[in-house]
Amino acid sequence: MAPRIAASAAEAVAEIRNGSTILIGGFGNAGQPMELIDALMDCGATDLTVVNNNAGQADAGLALLIKERRVRKIICSFPRQSDSWHFDTAYRAGEIELELVPQGNLAERIRAAGAGIGGFFTPTGYGTLLAEGKETRVIDGKGYVLETPIHADFALIKALHADTLGNLVYRKTARNFGPIMATAAKQAIVQVDEVVPAGSIDPEVVVTPGIYVDTVVALGGKK
């Protein structure tokens, strides 16, 4: 199905309900779907499980969702930053659950969900606190931890262009989590600078095929 082209970020996120699990792309500011996160803030959905590399920074985006206690649980690799004060406060108050995952396992678990893999043995984290309680196995003399897929209801991601069929291209290191998150969510919601006609993206350079994309909103580029 060709994706829905939403008229606004608010319209793009309108189906997100309380209790949803949401993958949010971005690493630092690169690839952060800021307008979609702001719209999620405005739409009022609460009791969310959020998957992101971090746990919000300063007083914007994900940090505000956490400040307002809209996030029940966060799955991330690096919550503690110099400006993660809203997370820190919520965490110390016991008002947010944290599942800490090494960054590469986080990425691979998201990919596994999109790829229909039931679980995989990864060497990352073997012998560490983050493997406690998890199944481990020594294969050919090397230790591995069994990790499970991270499925989600929604993904909020940012790409450079979408065509009208939802094919996406990204820009530089803003690609980061976008392509895998699009595959792992029941609905991938994508903000782009521009929507272009089908056929104007070379089939060889499509990074995310349109099959993974459900909703697109064009917000115009900053450059």
């Binding site: 199905m1 969900a113 229909g116 595959t183 499509v206 095929p209 349109g210 099959i211």
Partner: protein, 219 residues
């Protein structure tokens, strides 16, 4: 969809393909298996906006290529030269099968040796003594899509039903088939129950008599 209907004549192969094509939801992402299912593409309309996947690494596959359009780098899973449509994309084999295995395709249409009432599929290996086994993407296709439909003749040359209580041929995938198109009937499978959606050149009662599984007539 589940209103029972009947026609006097058996369905031809083209009519079967036409029926499958008509049943594919608008906008669906579809993989058509090698053989009979490939013919379905000839009956898809442009308005349906169906996107075809070929597991060797492409979405947005167009019709079979002819003449100057033939390009040996642009083939389908049956190794036939094809064309690409506007908005196509190419990807490698692991990404392509991840797309299937991850349940992103809406419909996969396959041929079969046998289907059980529980939707178990046999289509990769006769199990005959001395036969060289070959599986290709059959097992991935069987379990990958949201819905797996089968196109087959209902009876073997010796008159035995290919819709069975339990498979006698080696399994391709368990509980994966939800619909079967044959020249004499179309079946819906769900929860071990076989519903006959239509019969063609045979009455429901005759059909029920000839098949080794219990049948329910669509309301």
């Amino acid at each position: 969809m589940s209103t029972f209907s009947t026609t006097e004549a058996k369905l031809t192969r083209d009519e079967m393909a036409q029926q499958v094509a008509a049943d594919i939801p608008a906008g669906a992402f579809v993989n058509l298996g090698i053989g009979q299912p490939t013919n379905v593409s000839n009956f898809l309309t442009e308005e349906q906006g169906v996107t075809l996947h070929t597991e060797n690494g492409m979405l947005g596959m167009g019709p079979v290529a002819t003449g100057e359009d033939i390009d040996e780098d642009l083939i389908n899973a049956g190794k036939i030269p094809v064309t690409e449509l506007a908005g196509a994309s190419f990807f490698h084999h692991a990404d392509s099968f991840a797309m299937m295995r991850g349940g992103h395709l809406d419909v996969c249409v396959l041929g079969a040796f046998q289907v059980s009432k529980d939707g178990d599929l046999a289509n990769w290996h006769t199990g005959a003594e001395g036969a060289i086994p070959a599986v290709g993407g059959a097992m991935d296709l069987a379990i990958g899509a949201k819905q797996t439909w089968v196109m087959m003749s209902l009876f073997t040359k010796t008159g035995e039903s290919k819709l069975v209580e339990a498979l006698s041929y080696p399994v391709t995938g368990l509980g994966c088939v939800s619909r079967i198109y044959t020249e004499v009937a179309i079946f819906e499978l769900a929860g071990g129950q076989v519903t006959v959606r239509s019969t063609h050149g045979i009455s429901f009662e005759e059909l029920a008599e000839r098949l080794p599984v219990g049948l329910v007539k669509a309301a």
